[in-house]
Symmetry: C2
Subunit: 139 residues, 2 copies
């Protein structure tokens, strides 16, 4: 894993949480992959398969009043294998936490999201906010 | 994604659930990757990083009485990008369901698990048991 790739994946992951926090549906649509099928598992939901279902779910969440008031990505852990990457991180919602697996693929010069799963985790287990700038890269 | 690779990833994923159901700690240890750091998110747990933490957690679950009486993998959806693969599937526990993201990497001739996240999902949303034999491969 090159430092350049790790930084690029960390920035892609930080962008996802910026879109989420800002409820920016245009940017959210943009950051999901177009070159292959995408999938998403929201907390407590069944698996969503395909761009229409996944982007539609984000529209429902971000524009339908279901989005949390705040969301911060804590301690992202980045792994890269060729043109695929996965980031594990805690999502601090203020009143509670979720924990997520975010999968990205390289599309041209960009790392785009192909899968997201978030589920419950104990709140406060992760105290340090390193945002998208200083995640742990495993070797 | 070649049909051969898809079949191999489906078999690796089926092996994971066979180990889980059989509480076979030797086989569970074997199927996790050795060439890179592994990570795991059990339902309601924080992120576990590293072989010692991950394998130790499986030992606690499989040998400590915390394992479900039954677990079946329903409708695995397989995605492959080079030497990385991710499988999304519902885990039927009989009395309830979980939904999982399983990430694998190619190590020599084998696909080995590098990450697992399971979390709650509505029970009964997935009715068809296709085991490891006939999952959906997305294109």
């Amino acid at each position: 894993m090159s430092a350049e790739d790790i930084g690029a994946v960390e920035r892609a992951n930080a962008s996802f949480y910026r879109c989420f926090a800002a409820r920016d549906m245009v940017a959210m649509d943009e950051l999901w992959a177009r070159g292959r099928e995408v999938t998403c598992i929201h907390p407590g939901w069944p698996l969503l398969v395909g761009r229409e279902a996944v982007i539609g779910s984000w529209r429902t969440i971000l524009e339908g009043g279901g989005a949390p008031d705040t969301i911060r990505c804590l301690r992202p852990v980045v792994q890269i294998a060729g043109d695929a990457a996965w980031v594990l991180c805690t999502e601090d919602l203020g009143a509670g936490s979720l924990i997520a697996t975010n999968v990205y693929v390289r599309e041209g010069q960009a790392w785009r999201m192909v899968h997201h799963q978030a589920g419950p985790t104990p709140h406060g287990a992760e105290a340090e906010d390193v945002g998208g700038e200083g995640g742990d890269a495993l070797h």
